[in-house]
Symmetry: C4
Subunit: 219 residues, 4 copies
């Protein structure tokens, strides 16, 4: 396997595991310790857990889509790219932890809820810093780009593709200072926005050789 | 890697992890807290766990087989396909949780067992909704289909391929209202049925180029 | 991806996750509850855990190697092959559970240790039954074999390739009735034996097309 | 899939899972048992956990990069290679355990902290022994090397590529006898060093056939 393919495969593996480990944050109420009915317990005590699960699932899903967007541009990976990618993965792998933290403290009425939301947002911000670093590095090193990719267009797309994320996640840190629940809603909204917003970098023209290998359906 | 290959690989990863995490629902009785012999404890207290494990393992296995069936038809994936696929994975990843819930409350004599069975069935129903949406979307967008796939036949197979699942899982929700154990048996029966029932969509003719790449044994 | 490639990839994923989840059986002694030094606790209480970890790691590693051996022979997979493969994976995924059970009860002086060893061996036996079924099925359906594979030789190798395993694991169930520790040693010995024993099925001649694709180093 | 590709894919899977399981070492403080604020608890009690997480994440990341470096040289894998690779993976899979051990005891003021650091370093040393064995074995069997790889250069690089790691990890065991915290810093420093240090084996010239398949961007 080429270095790029193997980096993509390893990253995909880590992202797939991190997204699946989110299920470990969903706890089954212990039968012997149950107060009231199971239905009431699941609905009343469980909702912060479900809200945090759905939000983080979408966030990691979007990271996966965008990660692919970056590596579509890349032909060769060097040491720095590998290192920046590892930094990105390190923040993503922490998400199941921050998700559990958010779920545990979301309904706290003191400032612990806001602390949990701040930690959640800070890890997302760190993720967006790593992502922006990775993308900027790749965009600034044309020798690493794949055939058919326009280096100028890629360089121009740095702001749109990575700075927007930085600012959005910075904003969630501010929201966290006021309300944990508003902060979680903000993360959910960002994830949904990214789901439908086209953030494919502009400079990508598929090389002809690839187009030949992945046949399109004739009209 | 192409977007389709990478989507398949990521989905396979998530499915493989979710199916393997089912083992975390099998609990080793703590030695110090054991009442009676280990054999008795495993046999008497453990059977709901084993029954839920086997059933969910088969269910996720079948989802994997059918997921493959859908992506064999697809050549290109767009944002909506990615999003619907993510919705499907989000329900599958929750299965180890609902399985543990089912196992914990299956022998409860009040209505908590039925609550657990209802949650289990509801997540399966949500999974079948996501699956049906994904399949319908792909089937209605011929431009995304792979070469050699007959769009008319695919569109015709929507009912057979996805509506049947919807109705079956809806039925398990009704069963759950009466008996958790009958509900688990129903899920097991559906999984076994799908194991041996051919649900490969009709419209699939392998493109000649692929046939050439994956050589058959000469007669 | 072809059905065979995807089946291999999914199985590899499940095997990789199951083998890695063995680490969850290694428990860190809680600091507040520590009696005596950490060194003494790790050495004195921990050894059954390490012994079970090493043994099960080797066993799953060998299953992976042999699983590959079978799928090298296969060109097409049908529903029955998929189902038998799923049965095999279902037993493998249970190994982290039986390993933890074995470790927890290995030093028990009553019959609970032998119960744990019997469960451990029974799951291994079920695994070898699934493996033998999978191999026999593939060997008896020449239409599924890859180009260049001699169906007669494959059929002849059924006994050597799968019946031996059946008998060995049956024997460990007998040993379990007498001594859990002897049983664990037997599993370790079987795994080491398989590590160095050539069990590659006889009938495999690589098709010429493949030989061309995977270039050998010139002498 | 070829044996080499499948070995790489399986190893990548195990490494990706092991690196992601590190998140399970990050514990959410139980809300009901919280003394003082969450912020204080996370900052004051959590730092050994975060330090151990970051260090082990980098270490496994580097192992992944170097593992790839070795398998780039290899065209065919035999039984011994598979076995040595399995030994390497067995030590890597234990890292989430030793990381949790290190984190739990890092601030202990007696000798338990040094015990934990010694176990952490010993597993890393065992990993480097397995790695050195794997690399030496491959380097000494030219028949297994990929086309275009210079066997003499590979053999010469054994010392640089694997003996250095052995000595470094042996040194951390000595440091562990004096201070657990210094030992963790040493592991962190080694990982960072390897991140930026070029340890690509000298003898690798990409075969022309491959160069053609993975097109470079024209200057």
């Amino acid at each position: 396997m080429s270095q790029t393919t193997r980096t993509e495969a390893f990253s995909d593996g880590v992202l797939a595991i991190a997204i699946t480990l989110l299920v470990l944050d969903l706890h089954v109420p212990v039968r012997a310790a149950l107060e009231g009915s199971l239905a009431h317990t699941l609905a009343h005590d469980g909702w912060p857990t479900y809200a945090a699960y759905v939000t983080s699932f979408l966030v990691i899903g979007i990271i996966w889509v965008n990660h692919h967007g970056v590596f579509e541009l890349v032909d060769k990976v060097d040491r720095v790219t590998l290192f920046l990618n590892l930094m990105l993965l390190m923040t993503v792998v922490a998400i199941p932890f921050t998700t559990a933290l958010m779920a545990e403290y979301l309904t706290d009425e003191g400032h612990d809820a806001r602390t949990a939301a701040l930690v959640y947002s800070a890890v997302m911000f760190a993720m967006s810093v790593a992502f922006a670093s990775l993308y900027s590095y790749v965009a600034r090193h044309p020798a690493q780009l794949a055939e058919g990719v326009d280096p100028v267009a890629v360089r121009r797309s740095i702001v749109r593709f990575s700075v927007v994320g930085l600012l959005l996640y910075l904003a969630t840190m501010v929201v966290a200072l006021f309300s944990a629940q508003a902060c979680l809603i903000a993360h959910f909204a960002i994830a949904v926005y990214y789901c439908f917003q086209q953030i494919r970098p502009a400079g990508l023209r598929r090389p002809d050789s690839r187009r030949a290998r992945w046949p399109r359906r004739a009209a």
